[in-house]
């Protein structure tokens, strides 16, 4: 009987590793078939400590040649980049932390100082989560421009898959 119990525990452990191991390898799967936006969300599963304050990191990349306003643009007329997450049972999220932007000016308007994200940027979400597998759904709203044109605001769906243990 003791032998059977030990065997069952071993199988349970290996089945957990089976799931999490392949799960983390999945981040490399999938290449966008059809371009649709100016910002890419690098979806990757994360692991945090259950019941303790932890930080989820959401990695974004602004396509080369474009910029988006930071979360705190210098003009009230500009549309800030903002992440919205839907509340989920078992996850307590604190205030989202945005990175600082970098100064930018259009070549045709050098005196107008903007505050933008270019390249990679990370948005951090402080959370406390109960043990288990979690999925947070949300969206990133942003408005992009290149050096000669601007594009209507877009909403990028975001899904954060993580394990608290």
């Amino acid at each position: 009987m003791r032998l059977a119990g030990g065997f069952l525990a071993g199988v349970a452990l290996s089945s957990t590793f089976l799931g999490s191991g392949i799960g983390s390898a999945q981040q490399l799967d999938g290449v966008p078939a059809k371009p649709k936006g100016y910002v890419i969300y690098a979806a990757e599963p994360q692991v945090i400590k259950a019941g303790r304050p932890s930080v989820l990191e959401l990695r974004f990349q602004v396509r080369e040649g474009f910029h988006v306003n930071s979360h705190t643009p210098k003009s009230e007329l500009l549309i800030p980049t903002a992440l919205k997450l839907q509340p989920v049972d078992g996850i307590k999220a604190a205030e989202i932390a945005y990175p600082a932007g970098t100064p930018y000016s259009f070549s045709f308007e050098p005196n107008e100082k903007l505050d933008v994200y270019t390249g990679n940027f990370i948005v951090k979400v402080p959370v406390v989560a109960v043990a288990g597998e979690h999925t947070l759904d949300g969206s990133l709203r942003y408005q992009a421009c290149d050096n000669a044109a601007c594009y209507p605001p877009k909403t990028l769906p975001v899904q954060v898959v993580f394990t608290a243990k």
Binding site: I40, E109, A149
Partner: protein, 236 residues
Amino acid sequence: MKRMALVIVLMVVGISLMLWAGWHNLRERKLAMQRAQENKMVLVPEQGGATVSPGEGDGPKMTGKAAPGFTLVSLDGKKVSLSDYKGRPVLVNFWATWCGPCKVEMPWFEELRKQYAGQGLEILGLADDVDAGKEAITKVATRAGVTYPILLTDGKVQTAYGGLDVLPMSFYVDKNGVVVVQTAGLGTKDDIEANIKKTIASGGAPSEPKKMQMSSVPSLSGEGKTAMKTVGTGAL
């Protein structure tokens, strides 16, 4: 012996259940990651200030086609229709308060409007982001020194003009109501002037005799700008 057999059966059932749970967990995570991956999006940039020709890009292009008619409300609350300007060259310019390049060309439009007023040129600025509010739109237009009519879009006019996936977007409409040039993004002032000249020259004589009359054209200031207006029959 019987007890041993029972233990083995329980073990087999237990293993099966756990394997199934592991497989199910894996499948769910795969699906979740797949959904997340589908959200990765990339777009190819538009060419700034580029002239858009028919057949280029994915969206419908207007060059060579009749300019879709519209009736919109100006900042001073007056109804303004494209057909009000029938027989005159009109530059229909879509812009937004959050669009830096749009604000650069607005003073140029104002200057060129005065320069080509003798040839009947009118410029209509269509604010694409009505949700920003009249106050914000007025603030930007005033700061740019605009006195030509600024109209509040209704969501339908953008669709009629092919959907606006880039700003600024301009349509140069000749006296016959045909779009001569469509541009996307910021061009140079010289480009804009060349397009205006092309639009004024296009279409030859109006297809129907027009009666010239003095008319009040709505303006941003709300005072109503007095201008020569050509009145004809039919809509643009």
